[in-house]
Amino acid sequence: MLYKETGQYKSTYKSDHAIFPLIQDKIAFSTLMFIAFLIIPFVINSYWEKAILVPFLIFSLAAIGLNILTGYCGQVSLGTGGFMAVGAFSTYKIMTYFPDLNIMIIILISGLITAAVGILFGLPSLRIKGFYLAVATLASQFFLVWLFNKVPWFYNYSDTGQITVSERLMFGVPVTGATAPPYATYLFCLILVVLLGFAAKNLIRSKMGRSWMAIRDMDIAAEIIGVPPLKTKLSAFAISSFYIGVAGALYFAVFLGAIEVTESFDIMTISFPVLFMIIIGGLGSMLGSFLGAAFIVTLPIGLKFIMVDLVGLSAVTAKHFEITIWGLLMIIFLIVEPHGLARLWSIAKEKLRRWPFPY
């Protein structure tokens, strides 16, 4: 009853192909956008910005990227951290060489550079599958981080090996650097996430997305239908890396401001968490990318609140417990709901359709 589909007839293919075909979803999404664009910017403070909202948006983008590659095209990748580093260092180098270029353009170009690197590391995917491909992408993770660490040109020969962002304006308001106000960084990320999110959804529901899923589900049949395997896999690598590269650029320029590559783009801080996001959120689901990112970003905050503020453990002990609980949750999730939060939501929707008269 709450989620009533009855009576919502579609008389055109256009309305049947809509991203949100149901009126309830349309209302929910519009409300969410209204809150995100017109309420949050006025009430946001620096804690919400730095601890929750901006990292959530950035990791959503990275999760969408990895979900395109792993969830939709079926190519397992552990190289997310490396590709995010490519995005970050591209942004840094472009900023140095073209100080007057608009930050939005810089970030999108960084995404394109990452896409090119992604294609390069996607080449082995024609020959190897599954675990073996995962190991090959793992090599890209270590190689890229090593490269950015060892070649001083990438960090402009600074003594510390750190790269630091300088202030850039968007419509006269700084969106990067220390003086950027919380609402500006938040809105900057939000706009990119909404635009790129829609673009990803559109790709998935048209020809390209169907080619990816065909390769994922049965590559031999896909080939016989006329899906070129190499081109399709490489397109997934390119577009996935574009998203991950943009996420990396935002992570460096907007979120952290200053990074040291081995620390910030380590496999344990980026690659695995993003993989967990799409597994917990739901492989092959746009909604899952967002739910997974929200879950992984807010989990440590929630655990810290419970353990330190409510129970009264010391911060160090709480940190140790946090890692343990994290691992435990991961195992529970994989056993109880391997299809992730997105599946839980669709089950809930099914229940809501019949509530309060289940049969």
């Binding site: 192909h17 790709l203 048209s206 390209m208 169907r210 899923m213 065909a214 016989i224 006329g226 070129p228």
Partner: protein, 268 residues
Amino acid sequence: MSLKDLKDIPYGKTAIELKNIFLAFGGVKALTDVSFDVKKGEVFAIIGPNGAGKSSMLNVINGFYKPTSGTINFAGTDRGEMEPEFAAKSGIARTFQNIALFKGMSTLDNLMTGRLLKQKQNFLMQALYFGPAEKEEEEHREKVERVIDFLDLQSIRRTPVGSLPYGLQKRVELGRALAMEPEILLLDEPMAGMNVEEKQDMSRFVLTVNNELKTTIVLIEHDMGVVMDISDRIVVLDYGKKIGSGLPNEIRSNKAVIDAYLGVAEDE
């Protein structure tokens, strides 16, 4: 060489001609000196005992296996090596013996994949999903809906095919091949594991496709009743060799074929 060429051939003339096809995997000889031709617009059956090389033959026709030697002539042009993608482009679609559907996708999406080669919009237009890209999606959806109507798949349009029963999966797979609007349809045991009613349904679909759309059909099937009823011409393979070919009646009385199926009495 393209789809158009296969289209241009008049009905009743040779569409595919296979000349002296040999196919070996290391020491295993899957096909030895097999030659036959398929005429446009006919229902052509390939039969033979298990392991006779029937599926290998289909794989050769649509480019999945490269013959060790021999030539394949499509619409008057010789073709030795080719990629499956090329066969798909020239108008050949097929189904598989062990269903090869995209299990995570819905029936509708599975059928839409059959339209992939005909969709021309580039990925930027797809990402924007605007104007021509959206129109293209709707056009192809309409074509797919016709296949859905024809095969009675309306009720399972949104169901992931992995959860469908076997008979329906076979039907969806036929639908995916039909969505390609092929000139030649290769069916690898379309009725395996079906009960009598399902076999009747499937035969009806195959014959309707052949009659209404004038699609040439190359079929592998073990049910002799079905094969004798629906096919125009038959070729029989045994141990990778052609042992007979001709009209159903001729095959029925062919000594070599009967021996291959029933076994030969040892000479005294």
